[in-house]
């Protein structure tokens, strides 16, 4: 059902690793470690500034993949991965986009299920990849029926 989208990419979107957003995110995951939020700790660290928690890229805008219409209900987040070349630094600009990496279907205990793998990228201003992430979304039979109509 989503096979025809494999390989499609979103347009690149410029994001800023904002100090305020990091603080809000760190608080939301109960991790107000000073390396994320205290300027002096950041300055005295090997990074010379604050860094972002590893799951922070959840907040970035990755743009939209044309034609990929995912329902906002009934999806199950199955797996998530992050790969970093280095931690994200407060204040830096990150260019983000995502791509439909794969789609396949499997018979499970809850009927036929679809597995959609989205890969996301974050690049620095020089175009060098800082992080990649993959997200596997499980689309249940009930939702697939609605989509097929």
């Amino acid at each position: 059902m989503f096979q025809q989208h494999i390989g499609k990419r979103s347009k690149k979107v410029k994001n800023i690793v904002e100090r305020g957003a990091i603080k809000k995110f760190a608080e939301a995951i109960g991790d107000m470690h000073p390396i994320f939020v205290d300027e002096e700790t950041g300055r005295n660290s090997r990074y010379n500034r604050n860094i972002a928690p590893p799951t922070f890229p959840r907040v970035f805008d990755y743009g939209t993949i044309e034609g990929l219409n995912l329902p906002n209900k009934g999806l199950i987040h199955g797996e998530q991965t992050y790969h970093y070349e280095r931690p994200l630094l407060v204040g830096e600009e990150i260019i983000c986009y995502s791509e439909v990496k794969n789609y396949f279907e499997k018979k499970g205990t809850h009927g036929e299920m679809g597995f959609l793998v989205l890969e996301s990228f974050g690049e620095d201003e020089m175009g060098k990849v800082v992080f990649t992430s993959t997200q596997t979304v499980i689309i249940t039979e009930a939702v697939r029926k609605v989509l097929i109509g």
């Binding site: 608080e27 928690p53 209900k73 797996e79 992050y82 280095r86």
Partner: protein
């Protein structure tokens, strides 16, 4: 705190037990992450989805789990972090975060990481590959 470099296979980082999950935790995560799927915050929407109550965002639990490594920022960084979402987290659940060193290869220390609930069930599980700086 013992340096990650000094740990042996089978050693564990100190567990962290979270406060019982409350609605405000999930409202804050929705706001901070931009994930406003209502099954995480609104009872009637969770019920419509066939759930016995609102459930935590999987990414909330994954975000929490990474804090086992926050204090090691001078020694290295999380290079890879992979998670499978295995079970749901409900309000008032008491989640414990765990990490055990399973493999060492050059600068990379591999940890099996998981979050377990008060019944001992794994709700998320995966691996952290921690890359130690040598400079």
């Amino acid at each position: 705190m013992i340096a990650i470099e000094k740990l042996h296979i089978g050693d564990e980082l100190e567990d962290i037990q979270l406060e019982p999950v409350n609605r405000l935790n999930l409202i804050k995560y929705a706001g901070a992450s931009g994930d406003y799927n209502p099954i995480h915050t609104i009872d009637s929407e969770a019920a419509k989805a066939g759930l016995p109550g609102i459930i935590a965002h999987g990414m909330w639990t994954m975000g929490n789990l990474a804090k086992l490594f926050s204090s090691y920022y001078q020694e290295g960084f999380i290079q890879d972090y992979t998670i499978r979402f295995k079970g749901m987290v409900f309000l008032n659940d008491v989640i414990t975060l765990k990490a055990e060193l399973t493999e060492k290869n050059g600068s990379i220390s591999r940890f099996e990481v998981k979050a377990v609930n008060q019944n001992g069930n794994e709700v998320i599980k995966g691996d952290v590959f921690f890359n130690t700086y040598y400079d």
